[in-house]
Symmetry: C2
Subunit: 257 residues, 2 copies
């Protein structure tokens, strides 16, 4: 039987990266995609609680069905697995290909990774695939090549990998031929420091617009995803969902009585 | 010198839980609050990239300044630390008091916890405080009592606790007098399974509304936050931000080549 691959993203079903992913995923099985109907970048693991959501089919061809959904990326995954696929077994979730890196702490802000993490909650192997290039017309050749390789490797080893399984894959912004290889990494330590762009709107009201820069706390650490990207490697970070800080639990012993 | 406490939440500056927190925080120092100007529940670690944001002061009295901001809870924390407080030292971040539990995997969907986590990125001890009751008129007495105790304990031990420090505190829905104590816990394993409420709008279009139930994968585990809440204990889970699944890294060795 043919495999069933579920796709989503956060840049909407209209993005170039999403289209590249549809073509890539077709090589591995039937494709059903439910993607946001508009840009949902930076939406993290957000869910829509206080309003109704609408879905419409935007494409149906041999082995490919694409739906546009008015919710967040995580809403897309939820309606897929708790409504659309209740009777069908999905073999793999892929979210992307994102326009922009989700390495380091970006994993926590990213709607692309939010949806991939959510997919893993349903016991399905999930891959978030991102290219370190925000250009709407970015060149996805390297990301497609790396994605093909990693998807193949994961599908070949499904039986021996534990669940939940979620991978944060990031591809450097360079020619496909310049990519040096794929590295298993850990998440880089470091945080964003923002600068709020401050101006006046046409009515004289002050507004703020978020902008900033990532501060890498360990730029020389070769086992991190940021190091890999900076040196033209594809980074693969497995993502877990137990947020408990076990070391801090020990530090708190006797502090909170 | 008086301490400076930064407050935010996801239920907006108009919620009863936020007001209860303002009164509690005043006992510990000067209070500056930047809270969303409307309900932002379920917004997770979301940030606003694609639109301008507006801020306005809604209250100023002895030792208390409150601002309403048009962004997400994380945007509130970001503008606080990268704009408003650039010249002032904040001693503690408290987000809440949330109407509804953020125990277990809810930590990942919660805007209240998103803002608390963000606060910890700035090196400031951060507490997310939530009551297991969604009622807009919920009784916050128990949550205030527990919060007072935990804030006091943390402020008394700041020098010996490592950073980043972020606590996910949840208070059971019972009378304050029925609370049995405070327990250090780990995050319960388990995920939400949703049911999409499906109806037609006045124009005959089908819509979906997210609703669901948390599936506890380990209801008898006494070291979990869900067990604590179910048995009338306040749960305290320290939250970390390295999402790397280190055990999976080993499992992937040799799988991705």
């Amino acid at each position: 039987m043919k495999r069933l691959i579920f796709l989503t993203n956060d840049d909407s079903y209209l993005s170039k990266g999403f289209r590249a992913l549809v073509e890539l995923a077709r090589e591995f099985g039937d494709v059903v995609a439910i993607a946001p109907d508009r840009v949902q970048s930076g939406m993290s693991q957000a869910i829509t609680i206080n309003q109704p959501l609408f879905i419409r089919q935007v494409e149906k061809s041999e082995g490919v069905e694409i739906y546009a959904f008015s919710g967040t990326p995580v809403d897309c995954a939820k309606i897929a697995f708790d409504h659309i696929f209740r009777e069908r077994k999905v073999d793999l979730v892929i979210s992307g290909i994102n326009h922009g890196s989700n390495a380091a702490v970006n994993v926590m802000y990213s709607g692309t990774m939010g949806a991939a993490i959510e997919g893993s909650f349903y016991g399905i192997p999930s891959i978030g695939l991102s290219l370190d290039d925000h250009d709407p017309n970015a060149n996805f050749e390297g990301a497609v090549e790396a994605g093909r390789k990693i998807i193949g490797d994961i599908l070949a080893s499904l039986d021996k990998l534990p669940r939940p399984l979620c991978l944060n894959v990031n591809v450097p912004r360079c020619e496909a031929s310049e990519i040096k290889g794929i590295r298993l990494c850990r998440q880089t330590r470091g945080f964003w420091r923002e600068e709020f762009y401050q101006r006046q709107d046409p009515y004289g009201r002050e507004y703020y617009w978020l902008t900033g820069a990532f501060q890498n706390a360990e730029p020389d650490a070769k086992d991190t995803d940021e190091w890999a990207l900076a040196h033209n490697y594809v980074s693969v970070v497995p993502v877990q969902v137990d947020m408990t800080d076990y070391r801090m639990l020990k530090s708190l012993d006797g502090v909170i009585k």
